[in-house]
Amino acid sequence: MSTPSYTDIAVNGLWKNNPALVQLLGLCPLLAVTSSVVNALGLAVATTFVLVTSNTTVSLIRSVVPDTVRLPVFVMIIAAAVTGTELLMQAYAYELYQILGIFLPLITTNCVILGRADGFARKQPVLPALSDGLLMGLGFGAVLLVLGALREALGTGRLFADMDLLFGAGAAAWEVVLVQDYQAFLLAILPPGAFIFTGLLIAIKHLIDARIERRRAALRAAPASGSKRVRVTGTIS
Protein backbone atom coordinates (compact mmCIF):
# COMPACT_ATOMS: atom_id res chain seq x y z
CA MET A 1 0.00 0.00 0.00
CA SER A 2 1.47 3.23 -1.05
CA THR A 3 1.44 6.10 1.35
CA PRO A 4 -1.15 8.72 0.40
CA SER A 5 -0.13 12.37 0.33
CA TYR A 6 -0.96 14.56 3.29
CA THR A 7 -3.49 16.45 1.17
CA ASP A 8 -5.30 13.20 0.48
CA ILE A 9 -5.26 12.34 4.16
CA ALA A 10 -6.69 15.74 5.03
CA VAL A 11 -9.41 15.66 2.35
CA ASN A 12 -10.38 12.13 3.35
CA GLY A 13 -10.56 12.84 7.04
CA LEU A 14 -12.35 16.14 6.87
CA TRP A 15 -14.73 15.63 3.96
CA LYS A 16 -14.56 12.79 1.45
CA ASN A 17 -14.41 10.00 3.97
CA ASN A 18 -15.67 11.82 7.04
CA PRO A 19 -16.17 9.31 9.84
CA ALA A 20 -19.53 10.70 10.93
CA LEU A 21 -21.11 11.75 7.63
CA VAL A 22 -19.79 9.16 5.19
CA GLN A 23 -18.55 6.15 7.09
CA LEU A 24 -21.37 6.59 9.63
CA LEU A 25 -19.14 5.21 12.34
CA GLY A 26 -19.27 6.12 15.99
CA LEU A 27 -22.91 7.15 15.79
CA CYS A 28 -23.67 6.08 19.34
CA PRO A 29 -21.67 8.83 21.07
CA LEU A 30 -22.43 11.18 18.18
CA LEU A 31 -26.14 10.92 18.84
CA ALA A 32 -25.98 10.65 22.58
CA VAL A 33 -23.77 13.50 23.76
CA THR A 34 -24.20 16.25 21.19
CA SER A 35 -26.96 18.02 23.08
CA SER A 36 -24.68 21.01 23.71
CA VAL A 37 -21.46 22.49 22.37
CA VAL A 38 -19.48 21.79 25.49
CA ASN A 39 -20.41 18.11 25.57
CA ALA A 40 -19.64 17.78 21.88
CA LEU A 41 -16.28 19.52 22.28
CA GLY A 42 -15.34 17.33 25.22
CA LEU A 43 -16.07 14.17 23.34
CA ALA A 44 -14.41 15.48 20.18
CA VAL A 45 -11.18 16.25 22.04
CA ALA A 46 -11.21 12.89 23.81
CA THR A 47 -11.88 10.95 20.60
CA THR A 48 -9.22 12.82 18.64
CA PHE A 49 -6.68 12.23 21.38
CA VAL A 50 -7.43 8.51 21.42
CA LEU A 51 -7.32 8.32 17.63
CA VAL A 52 -3.91 10.00 17.44
CA THR A 53 -2.45 7.90 20.26
CA SER A 54 -3.75 4.59 18.98
CA ASN A 55 -2.87 5.26 15.34
CA THR A 56 0.67 6.25 16.28
CA THR A 57 1.19 3.25 18.56
CA VAL A 58 -0.27 0.80 16.06
CA SER A 59 1.96 2.20 13.34
CA LEU A 60 5.03 1.97 15.58
CA ILE A 61 4.57 -1.71 16.32
CA ARG A 62 3.21 -2.64 12.89
CA SER A 63 6.13 -4.86 11.94
CA VAL A 64 6.08 -6.80 15.22
CA VAL A 65 2.40 -7.76 15.42
CA PRO A 66 1.40 -10.91 13.53
CA ASP A 67 -1.74 -10.56 11.43
CA THR A 68 -3.65 -13.28 13.27
CA VAL A 69 -3.65 -11.55 16.64
CA ARG A 70 -3.72 -7.97 15.46
CA LEU A 71 -7.28 -7.14 16.52
CA PRO A 72 -6.88 -8.04 20.22
CA VAL A 73 -3.61 -6.13 20.26
CA PHE A 74 -5.25 -3.05 18.71
CA VAL A 75 -8.15 -3.19 21.13
CA MET A 76 -5.71 -3.36 24.06
CA ILE A 77 -3.86 -0.32 22.74
CA ILE A 78 -7.09 1.60 22.25
CA ALA A 79 -8.35 0.63 25.69
CA ALA A 80 -5.12 1.87 27.23
CA ALA A 81 -5.42 5.17 25.36
CA VAL A 82 -9.03 5.55 26.47
CA THR A 83 -8.15 4.85 30.08
CA GLY A 84 -5.48 7.51 29.91
CA THR A 85 -7.92 10.02 28.44
CA GLU A 86 -10.48 9.17 31.06
CA LEU A 87 -8.00 9.75 33.87
CA LEU A 88 -6.91 13.05 32.33
CA MET A 89 -10.50 14.28 32.05
CA GLN A 90 -11.19 13.14 35.59
CA ALA A 91 -8.25 15.26 36.71
CA TYR A 92 -8.82 18.42 34.66
CA ALA A 93 -12.51 18.53 33.72
CA TYR A 94 -14.31 16.55 36.36
CA GLU A 95 -17.83 17.92 35.76
CA LEU A 96 -17.60 17.23 32.06
CA TYR A 97 -16.26 13.77 32.87
CA GLN A 98 -19.40 13.16 34.87
CA ILE A 99 -21.69 14.52 32.15
CA LEU A 100 -20.11 12.40 29.43
CA GLY A 101 -20.40 9.43 31.77
CA ILE A 102 -20.44 6.06 30.06
CA PHE A 103 -19.63 7.54 26.66
CA LEU A 104 -16.01 8.18 27.62
CA PRO A 105 -15.11 4.53 28.29
CA LEU A 106 -17.25 3.60 25.30
CA ILE A 107 -14.78 5.38 23.01
CA THR A 108 -12.96 2.05 23.15
CA THR A 109 -15.73 0.47 21.12
CA ASN A 110 -16.00 3.40 18.71
CA CYS A 111 -15.62 1.78 15.31
CA VAL A 112 -13.81 4.80 13.88
CA ILE A 113 -10.78 4.11 16.03
CA LEU A 114 -10.46 0.40 15.34
CA GLY A 115 -11.30 1.06 11.71
CA ARG A 116 -8.47 3.57 11.29
CA ALA A 117 -6.03 1.35 13.20
CA ASP A 118 -6.80 -1.70 11.09
CA GLY A 119 -7.49 0.03 7.78
CA PHE A 120 -4.74 2.62 7.78
CA ALA A 121 -2.24 2.77 10.63
CA ARG A 122 -1.05 -0.83 10.52
CA LYS A 123 0.15 -0.43 6.93
CA GLN A 124 1.59 3.07 7.15
CA PRO A 125 4.65 4.81 8.59
CA VAL A 126 4.26 6.74 11.82
CA LEU A 127 3.85 10.26 10.51
CA PRO A 128 1.04 9.58 8.00
CA ALA A 129 -0.70 7.40 10.60
CA LEU A 130 -0.49 10.16 13.17
CA SER A 131 -1.85 12.79 10.80
CA ASP A 132 -4.60 10.44 9.65
CA GLY A 133 -5.66 9.97 13.27
CA LEU A 134 -5.58 13.70 13.85
CA LEU A 135 -7.59 14.59 10.72
CA MET A 136 -10.12 11.81 11.15
CA GLY A 137 -10.55 13.05 14.72
CA LEU A 138 -10.96 16.61 13.50
CA GLY A 139 -13.50 15.55 10.89
CA PHE A 140 -15.47 13.62 13.49
CA GLY A 141 -15.14 16.48 15.97
CA ALA A 142 -16.31 19.06 13.45
CA VAL A 143 -19.53 17.14 12.89
CA LEU A 144 -19.96 16.73 16.64
CA LEU A 145 -19.54 20.48 17.12
CA VAL A 146 -21.94 21.48 14.35
CA LEU A 147 -24.51 19.04 15.66
CA GLY A 148 -24.00 20.20 19.23
CA ALA A 149 -24.34 23.85 18.23
CA LEU A 150 -27.48 23.21 16.16
CA ARG A 151 -29.16 21.21 18.87
CA GLU A 152 -28.18 23.61 21.64
CA ALA A 153 -29.33 26.66 19.69
CA LEU A 154 -32.64 25.13 18.69
CA GLY A 155 -33.26 23.30 21.93
CA THR A 156 -32.43 26.02 24.43
CA GLY A 157 -32.01 29.24 22.44
CA ARG A 158 -28.45 29.64 23.75
CA LEU A 159 -24.96 28.80 22.55
CA PHE A 160 -21.74 27.92 24.38
CA ALA A 161 -23.47 27.45 27.73
CA ASP A 162 -21.41 25.89 30.55
CA MET A 163 -18.12 26.25 28.70
CA ASP A 164 -16.46 26.71 32.09
CA LEU A 165 -16.65 22.93 32.47
CA LEU A 166 -13.85 22.68 29.92
CA PHE A 167 -12.00 25.98 29.97
CA GLY A 168 -12.12 27.08 33.60
CA ALA A 169 -14.19 29.70 35.37
CA GLY A 170 -13.37 32.49 32.88
CA ALA A 171 -15.31 30.73 30.14
CA ALA A 172 -18.60 30.98 32.00
CA ALA A 173 -19.16 34.36 30.33
CA TRP A 174 -18.95 32.89 26.83
CA GLU A 175 -22.59 31.99 26.87
CA VAL A 176 -24.53 33.67 24.08
CA VAL A 177 -28.27 34.08 24.48
CA LEU A 178 -29.66 33.93 20.96
CA VAL A 179 -33.31 34.53 21.80
CA GLN A 180 -34.62 36.06 25.00
CA ASP A 181 -37.33 34.07 26.81
CA TYR A 182 -36.89 31.18 24.43
CA GLN A 183 -39.41 28.41 24.74
CA ALA A 184 -37.27 25.28 25.09
CA PHE A 185 -37.74 22.95 22.11
CA LEU A 186 -37.11 19.65 23.85
CA LEU A 187 -37.19 17.54 20.72
CA ALA A 188 -33.88 19.00 19.55
CA ILE A 189 -32.17 17.96 22.77
CA LEU A 190 -33.80 14.54 23.00
CA PRO A 191 -32.43 11.59 20.96
CA PRO A 192 -34.91 11.97 18.05
CA GLY A 193 -33.49 15.45 17.45
CA ALA A 194 -30.02 13.96 17.09
CA PHE A 195 -31.22 11.54 14.43
CA ILE A 196 -33.10 14.23 12.53
CA PHE A 197 -30.21 16.69 12.53
CA THR A 198 -27.62 14.05 11.60
CA GLY A 199 -29.83 13.10 8.67
CA LEU A 200 -30.08 16.74 7.65
CA LEU A 201 -26.30 17.19 7.82
CA ILE A 202 -25.75 14.12 5.65
CA ALA A 203 -28.33 15.43 3.17
CA ILE A 204 -26.56 18.80 3.05
CA LYS A 205 -23.24 17.07 2.41
CA HIS A 206 -24.77 15.13 -0.47
CA LEU A 207 -26.22 18.35 -1.85
CA ILE A 208 -22.83 20.07 -1.78
CA ASP A 209 -21.14 17.03 -3.34
CA ALA A 210 -23.71 16.98 -6.12
CA ARG A 211 -23.14 20.71 -6.74
CA ILE A 212 -19.38 20.23 -6.94
CA GLU A 213 -19.79 17.23 -9.20
CA ARG A 214 -22.10 19.14 -11.52
CA ARG A 215 -19.68 22.05 -11.75
CA ARG A 216 -16.84 19.66 -12.51
CA ALA A 217 -18.87 17.89 -15.16
CA ALA A 218 -19.65 21.22 -16.77
CA LEU A 219 -15.95 22.07 -16.86
CA ARG A 220 -14.96 18.81 -18.39
CA ALA A 221 -15.59 18.63 -22.12
CA ALA A 222 -16.01 14.89 -22.34
CA PRO A 223 -17.12 13.13 -19.19
CA ALA A 224 -14.54 10.55 -18.19
CA SER A 225 -15.98 7.15 -17.46
CA GLY A 226 -14.87 5.54 -14.25
CA SER A 227 -15.91 3.42 -11.35
CA LYS A 228 -18.92 4.79 -9.47
CA ARG A 229 -18.34 2.51 -6.52
CA VAL A 230 -18.30 4.26 -3.21
CA ARG A 231 -15.37 3.43 -1.02
CA VAL A 232 -16.18 3.31 2.61
CA THR A 233 -12.92 2.56 4.37
CA GLY A 234 -9.97 4.60 3.29
CA THR A 235 -7.90 4.22 0.19
CA ILE A 236 -7.25 0.67 -0.88
CA SER A 237 -4.63 -0.02 -3.46
Binding site: Q183, F185, L186, L187, A188, L190, P192, I196
Partner: protein
Amino acid sequence: MKLLRVSSPHAHGPNSTQRVMQQVLLASLPGVFVLTVFFGFGTLVNILWAAVVALACESLALWLRKRPLGFYLGDCSALVTALLLGIALPPYAPWWLIAIGVASAILMAKHLYGGLGYNPFNPAMVGYVVLLISFPVQMTSWAPPRGLTENVPGLLDALRACFLPGQFDAITMATPLDVLRQNSGLMMDDLWAQAPQFGRWAGIGWEWANLAFLAGGLWLLYRRIFTWHAPVAFLASLALMAALFYDGGSSASGGSPLFHLLSGATMLGAFFIITDPVSSAVSVRGRLVFGALIGILVYLIRAWGNYPDAVAFAVLIANLCAPFIDHYTQPRTYGHRPPAREDA
Protein backbone atom coordinates in the same frame (compact mmCIF):
# COMPACT_ATOMS: atom_id res chain seq x y z
CA MET B 1 -76.44 4.71 -32.19
CA LYS B 2 -73.05 5.00 -30.69
CA LEU B 3 -71.43 1.91 -29.29
CA LEU B 4 -68.72 2.60 -26.82
CA ARG B 5 -66.08 -0.02 -26.79
CA VAL B 6 -64.56 0.04 -23.35
CA SER B 7 -62.38 -2.61 -21.88
CA SER B 8 -62.84 -4.01 -18.39
CA PRO B 9 -63.23 -3.20 -15.55
CA HIS B 10 -66.73 -2.00 -16.27
CA ALA B 11 -67.68 -1.20 -12.72
CA HIS B 12 -65.66 1.54 -11.18
CA GLY B 13 -65.91 3.29 -7.86
CA PRO B 14 -66.52 7.00 -7.64
CA ASN B 15 -64.01 7.33 -4.84
CA SER B 16 -60.94 9.33 -5.76
CA THR B 17 -58.50 10.44 -3.09
CA GLN B 18 -59.98 13.89 -3.36
CA ARG B 19 -63.56 12.71 -2.81
CA VAL B 20 -62.59 10.50 0.12
CA MET B 21 -60.72 13.31 1.79
CA GLN B 22 -63.57 15.75 1.21
CA GLN B 23 -66.03 13.38 2.83
CA VAL B 24 -63.71 12.94 5.80
CA LEU B 25 -63.58 16.73 6.15
CA LEU B 26 -67.37 16.88 5.95
CA ALA B 27 -67.86 14.10 8.48
CA SER B 28 -65.80 15.92 11.08
CA LEU B 29 -68.15 18.92 11.07
CA PRO B 30 -70.48 17.74 13.87
CA GLY B 31 -67.54 17.01 16.15
CA VAL B 32 -65.89 20.35 15.44
CA PHE B 33 -69.23 22.08 16.02
CA VAL B 34 -69.67 20.46 19.44
CA LEU B 35 -66.08 21.28 20.41
CA THR B 36 -66.70 24.89 19.42
CA VAL B 37 -69.94 25.07 21.40
CA PHE B 38 -68.33 23.74 24.57
CA PHE B 39 -64.78 25.10 24.40
CA GLY B 40 -65.22 28.24 22.30
CA PHE B 41 -63.68 29.17 18.98
CA GLY B 42 -60.20 27.87 19.83
CA THR B 43 -60.52 24.62 17.93
CA LEU B 44 -61.83 26.40 14.85
CA VAL B 45 -58.92 28.85 14.85
CA ASN B 46 -56.53 25.91 15.36
CA ILE B 47 -57.94 24.15 12.32
CA LEU B 48 -57.93 27.21 10.07
CA TRP B 49 -54.38 28.25 10.93
CA ALA B 50 -53.22 24.64 10.66
CA ALA B 51 -54.80 24.44 7.20
CA VAL B 52 -52.96 27.57 6.05
CA VAL B 53 -49.62 26.25 7.32
CA ALA B 54 -50.32 22.79 5.90
CA LEU B 55 -51.02 24.11 2.41
CA ALA B 56 -47.88 26.27 2.57
CA CYS B 57 -45.72 23.33 3.71
CA GLU B 58 -47.25 21.01 1.14
CA SER B 59 -46.60 23.52 -1.65
CA LEU B 60 -43.03 24.01 -0.48
CA ALA B 61 -42.38 20.27 -0.36
CA LEU B 62 -43.96 19.69 -3.76
CA TRP B 63 -41.96 22.53 -5.27
CA LEU B 64 -38.73 21.16 -3.80
CA ARG B 65 -39.58 17.69 -5.08
CA LYS B 66 -40.61 19.08 -8.48
CA ARG B 67 -44.08 17.56 -8.38
CA PRO B 68 -47.21 19.06 -9.97
CA LEU B 69 -48.64 21.47 -7.44
CA GLY B 70 -52.30 21.55 -8.46
CA PHE B 71 -52.75 17.80 -8.57
CA TYR B 72 -51.32 17.07 -5.16
CA LEU B 73 -52.80 20.10 -3.42
CA GLY B 74 -56.19 19.17 -4.86
CA ASP B 75 -56.31 15.80 -3.14
CA CYS B 76 -57.04 17.57 0.17
CA SER B 77 -54.87 15.14 2.16
CA ALA B 78 -52.89 18.00 3.66
CA LEU B 79 -56.16 19.57 4.78
CA VAL B 80 -57.19 16.36 6.53
CA THR B 81 -53.85 16.25 8.34
CA ALA B 82 -54.35 19.88 9.38
CA LEU B 83 -57.91 19.16 10.51
CA LEU B 84 -56.92 16.20 12.67
CA LEU B 85 -54.02 18.07 14.23
CA GLY B 86 -56.15 21.17 14.78
CA ILE B 87 -58.76 19.13 16.63
CA ALA B 88 -56.18 17.24 18.66
CA LEU B 89 -54.30 20.33 19.86
CA PRO B 90 -55.61 22.18 22.89
CA PRO B 91 -57.81 25.16 21.95
CA TYR B 92 -56.12 28.59 22.20
CA ALA B 93 -52.72 27.13 21.35
CA PRO B 94 -50.20 29.77 20.20
CA TRP B 95 -49.56 30.06 16.45
CA TRP B 96 -45.94 28.83 16.59
CA LEU B 97 -46.99 25.65 18.37
CA ILE B 98 -49.47 24.80 15.62
CA ALA B 99 -46.99 25.78 12.91
CA ILE B 100 -44.25 23.52 14.29
CA GLY B 101 -46.69 20.64 14.61
CA VAL B 102 -48.05 20.97 11.09
CA ALA B 103 -44.59 21.48 9.60
CA SER B 104 -43.24 18.33 11.23
CA ALA B 105 -46.35 16.44 10.13
CA ILE B 106 -46.23 17.49 6.48
CA LEU B 107 -42.51 17.90 5.87
CA MET B 108 -41.06 15.24 8.14
CA ALA B 109 -43.68 12.53 8.48
CA LYS B 110 -45.11 12.79 4.98
CA HIS B 111 -42.74 14.21 2.37
CA LEU B 112 -39.43 12.95 3.74
CA TYR B 113 -40.86 9.46 3.35
CA GLY B 114 -42.04 10.10 -0.20
CA GLY B 115 -45.38 11.87 0.08
CA LEU B 116 -48.94 10.61 0.32
CA GLY B 117 -49.12 6.84 0.15
CA TYR B 118 -45.57 6.23 1.32
CA ASN B 119 -45.69 7.47 4.88
CA PRO B 120 -45.35 4.65 7.41
CA PHE B 121 -46.71 6.85 10.21
CA ASN B 122 -49.87 8.90 10.46
CA PRO B 123 -48.60 12.45 9.79
CA ALA B 124 -51.04 14.21 12.12
CA MET B 125 -50.08 11.94 15.00
CA VAL B 126 -46.37 12.46 14.36
CA GLY B 127 -46.96 16.20 14.54
CA TYR B 128 -48.91 15.79 17.76
CA VAL B 129 -46.26 13.63 19.41
CA VAL B 130 -43.44 15.97 18.34
CA LEU B 131 -45.30 18.79 20.09
CA LEU B 132 -46.22 16.71 23.11
CA ILE B 133 -42.67 15.70 23.93
CA SER B 134 -41.25 19.12 23.03
CA PHE B 135 -43.73 21.44 24.73
CA PRO B 136 -45.47 19.48 27.48
CA VAL B 137 -46.75 22.59 29.26
CA GLN B 138 -48.61 24.07 26.30
CA MET B 139 -49.85 20.68 25.18
CA THR B 140 -51.45 19.72 28.48
CA SER B 141 -53.40 22.90 29.15
CA TRP B 142 -56.95 22.37 27.97
CA ALA B 143 -59.64 25.05 28.24
CA PRO B 144 -62.56 24.55 30.65
CA PRO B 145 -65.88 23.69 29.01
CA ARG B 146 -68.94 25.95 28.85
CA GLY B 147 -70.76 25.83 32.16
CA LEU B 148 -67.58 25.74 34.22
CA THR B 149 -66.34 29.12 33.14
CA GLU B 150 -68.03 32.50 33.05
CA ASN B 151 -67.07 33.47 29.56
CA VAL B 152 -66.26 31.07 26.81
CA PRO B 153 -63.87 32.97 24.51
CA GLY B 154 -65.38 34.23 21.28
CA LEU B 155 -63.82 34.39 17.85
CA LEU B 156 -61.80 37.56 18.52
CA ASP B 157 -60.43 36.22 21.78
CA ALA B 158 -59.54 32.97 20.08
CA LEU B 159 -57.66 34.82 17.33
CA ARG B 160 -55.83 36.89 19.92
CA ALA B 161 -54.89 33.75 21.88
CA CYS B 162 -53.46 32.21 18.74
CA PHE B 163 -51.56 35.10 17.19
CA LEU B 164 -50.76 37.31 20.19
CA PRO B 165 -50.21 34.65 22.83
CA GLY B 166 -48.59 37.12 25.22
CA GLN B 167 -51.73 39.23 25.56
CA PHE B 168 -54.15 36.47 26.38
CA ASP B 169 -54.56 34.86 29.76
CA ALA B 170 -55.78 31.42 28.99
CA ILE B 171 -57.85 29.73 31.65
CA THR B 172 -57.06 26.06 31.80
CA MET B 173 -58.42 23.10 33.64
CA ALA B 174 -57.48 19.47 33.99
CA THR B 175 -59.29 17.16 31.61
CA PRO B 176 -61.45 14.40 33.08
CA LEU B 177 -58.85 11.80 32.10
CA ASP B 178 -56.24 13.77 34.05
CA VAL B 179 -58.49 14.13 37.09
CA LEU B 180 -59.12 10.42 37.13
CA ARG B 181 -55.42 9.60 36.87
CA GLN B 182 -54.38 12.05 39.59
CA ASN B 183 -56.92 10.75 42.11
CA SER B 184 -56.59 7.23 43.34
CA GLY B 185 -57.97 7.46 46.87
CA LEU B 186 -61.62 8.21 46.23
CA MET B 187 -64.78 6.38 45.35
CA MET B 188 -65.99 7.10 41.85
CA ASP B 189 -69.18 8.79 43.13
CA ASP B 190 -67.19 11.12 45.38
CA LEU B 191 -64.87 12.00 42.54
CA TRP B 192 -67.86 12.74 40.32
CA ALA B 193 -69.27 14.98 43.06
CA GLN B 194 -65.98 16.74 43.82
CA ALA B 195 -64.56 17.46 40.42
CA PRO B 196 -66.73 19.77 38.34
CA GLN B 197 -65.37 18.41 35.06
CA PHE B 198 -67.50 15.30 35.04
CA GLY B 199 -70.80 15.20 33.19
CA ARG B 200 -73.38 12.50 32.70
CA TRP B 201 -71.16 9.64 31.47
CA ALA B 202 -67.73 11.17 31.10
CA GLY B 203 -66.51 14.77 31.01
CA ILE B 204 -68.71 17.79 30.31
CA GLY B 205 -68.33 18.58 26.63
CA TRP B 206 -66.12 15.57 25.98
CA GLU B 207 -68.99 13.09 25.95
CA TRP B 208 -70.93 15.11 23.38
CA ALA B 209 -67.85 15.73 21.24
CA ASN B 210 -67.17 12.01 21.21
CA LEU B 211 -70.76 11.22 20.30
CA ALA B 212 -70.61 13.76 17.48
CA PHE B 213 -67.42 12.20 16.11
CA LEU B 214 -69.11 8.81 16.43
CA ALA B 215 -72.01 10.11 14.32
CA GLY B 216 -69.61 11.47 11.70
CA GLY B 217 -67.75 8.18 11.70
CA LEU B 218 -70.92 6.16 11.23
CA TRP B 219 -71.79 8.33 8.24
CA LEU B 220 -68.33 7.63 6.74
CA LEU B 221 -68.92 3.94 7.37
CA TYR B 222 -72.28 4.21 5.58
CA ARG B 223 -70.53 5.93 2.67
CA ARG B 224 -68.05 3.02 2.63
CA ILE B 225 -65.02 5.21 3.03
CA PHE B 226 -63.53 2.51 5.25
CA THR B 227 -64.59 -0.86 6.60
CA TRP B 228 -65.86 -1.45 10.12
CA HIS B 229 -63.05 -3.74 11.21
CA ALA B 230 -60.45 -1.40 12.67
CA PRO B 231 -62.83 0.99 14.51
CA VAL B 232 -64.94 -1.81 15.99
CA ALA B 233 -61.89 -3.80 17.06
CA PHE B 234 -60.41 -0.68 18.64
CA LEU B 235 -63.55 0.30 20.56
CA ALA B 236 -64.23 -3.29 21.62
CA SER B 237 -60.73 -3.93 22.91
CA LEU B 238 -60.66 -0.57 24.72
CA ALA B 239 -64.00 -1.34 26.37
CA LEU B 240 -62.86 -4.84 27.22
CA MET B 241 -59.64 -3.61 28.79
CA ALA B 242 -61.57 -1.02 30.81
CA ALA B 243 -64.09 -3.65 31.91
CA LEU B 244 -61.31 -6.01 32.98
CA PHE B 245 -59.57 -3.44 35.16
CA TYR B 246 -62.63 -1.56 36.42
CA ASP B 247 -63.57 -2.57 39.94
CA GLY B 248 -66.94 -0.84 39.89
CA GLY B 249 -66.36 2.09 42.15
CA SER B 250 -62.91 3.22 43.26
CA SER B 251 -60.94 5.82 41.36
CA ALA B 252 -57.80 3.72 41.67
CA SER B 253 -59.04 1.56 38.84
CA GLY B 254 -59.18 3.07 35.41
CA GLY B 255 -62.75 4.25 34.96
CA SER B 256 -65.73 2.48 33.43
CA PRO B 257 -65.80 1.25 29.83
CA LEU B 258 -68.34 3.93 28.96
CA PHE B 259 -66.09 6.61 30.45
CA HIS B 260 -63.19 5.49 28.27
CA LEU B 261 -65.31 5.26 25.14
CA LEU B 262 -66.53 8.84 25.59
CA SER B 263 -63.32 10.46 26.86
CA GLY B 264 -60.41 12.13 25.18
CA ALA B 265 -59.84 11.31 21.54
CA THR B 266 -61.43 7.85 21.54
CA MET B 267 -64.06 8.38 18.84
CA LEU B 268 -61.91 10.79 16.83
CA GLY B 269 -59.20 8.14 16.88
CA ALA B 270 -61.52 5.26 16.08
CA PHE B 271 -63.09 6.75 12.96
CA PHE B 272 -60.74 9.47 11.74
CA ILE B 273 -57.22 8.46 12.72
CA ILE B 274 -56.77 4.69 12.81
CA THR B 275 -58.74 4.34 9.57
CA ASP B 276 -55.98 6.15 7.64
CA PRO B 277 -55.59 3.84 4.63
CA VAL B 278 -51.87 4.49 4.22
CA SER B 279 -50.39 3.78 7.60
CA SER B 280 -52.76 1.09 8.91
CA ALA B 281 -52.83 -2.62 8.21
CA VAL B 282 -54.59 -3.49 4.96
CA SER B 283 -55.92 -7.05 5.18
CA VAL B 284 -59.29 -7.64 6.83
CA ARG B 285 -57.94 -9.76 9.67
CA GLY B 286 -54.99 -7.40 9.85
CA ARG B 287 -57.28 -4.45 10.51
CA LEU B 288 -58.95 -6.34 13.34
CA VAL B 289 -55.58 -7.01 14.93
CA PHE B 290 -54.44 -3.44 14.25
CA GLY B 291 -57.52 -1.92 15.89
CA ALA B 292 -57.42 -4.26 18.86
CA LEU B 293 -53.74 -3.50 19.43
CA ILE B 294 -54.46 0.23 19.51
CA GLY B 295 -57.31 -0.32 21.97
CA ILE B 296 -55.07 -2.22 24.35
CA LEU B 297 -52.28 0.34 24.04
CA VAL B 298 -54.64 3.27 24.59
CA TYR B 299 -55.90 1.75 27.82
CA LEU B 300 -52.40 0.85 29.05
CA ILE B 301 -51.05 4.35 28.39
CA ARG B 302 -54.12 6.06 29.83
CA ALA B 303 -54.09 3.98 32.98
CA TRP B 304 -50.37 3.81 33.71
CA GLY B 305 -48.75 6.39 31.47
CA ASN B 306 -47.96 10.02 32.15
CA TYR B 307 -49.49 11.71 29.13
CA PRO B 308 -52.86 13.46 28.75
CA ASP B 309 -54.20 11.03 26.19
CA ALA B 310 -52.90 7.90 24.58
CA VAL B 311 -54.33 7.73 21.08
CA ALA B 312 -51.35 9.38 19.35
CA PHE B 313 -48.72 7.13 20.91
CA ALA B 314 -50.86 4.02 20.46
CA VAL B 315 -51.44 4.81 16.79
CA LEU B 316 -47.73 5.38 16.12
CA ILE B 317 -46.74 2.13 17.83
CA ALA B 318 -49.41 0.27 15.87
CA ASN B 319 -48.21 1.94 12.63
CA LEU B 320 -44.82 0.40 13.35
CA CYS B 321 -46.45 -3.01 13.66
CA ALA B 322 -48.67 -2.68 10.57
CA PRO B 323 -46.30 -4.29 8.01
CA PHE B 324 -45.66 -7.13 10.45
CA ILE B 325 -49.41 -7.62 11.02
CA ASP B 326 -50.00 -7.64 7.27
CA HIS B 327 -47.30 -10.22 6.76
CA TYR B 328 -49.00 -12.68 9.10
CA THR B 329 -52.59 -12.02 8.07
CA GLN B 330 -52.19 -12.37 4.35
CA PRO B 331 -55.56 -13.47 2.97
CA ARG B 332 -55.97 -16.65 0.96
CA THR B 333 -56.50 -16.11 -2.74
CA TYR B 334 -59.79 -17.67 -3.88
CA GLY B 335 -59.14 -21.14 -5.24
CA HIS B 336 -55.64 -21.34 -3.85
CA ARG B 337 -54.07 -22.81 -0.78
CA PRO B 338 -52.84 -20.46 1.95
CA PRO B 339 -49.64 -18.83 0.72
CA ALA B 340 -46.57 -20.85 1.57
CA ARG B 341 -43.97 -18.73 3.26
CA GLU B 342 -40.58 -19.38 1.78
CA ASP B 343 -38.91 -17.00 4.16
CA ALA B 344 -40.32 -18.60 7.30
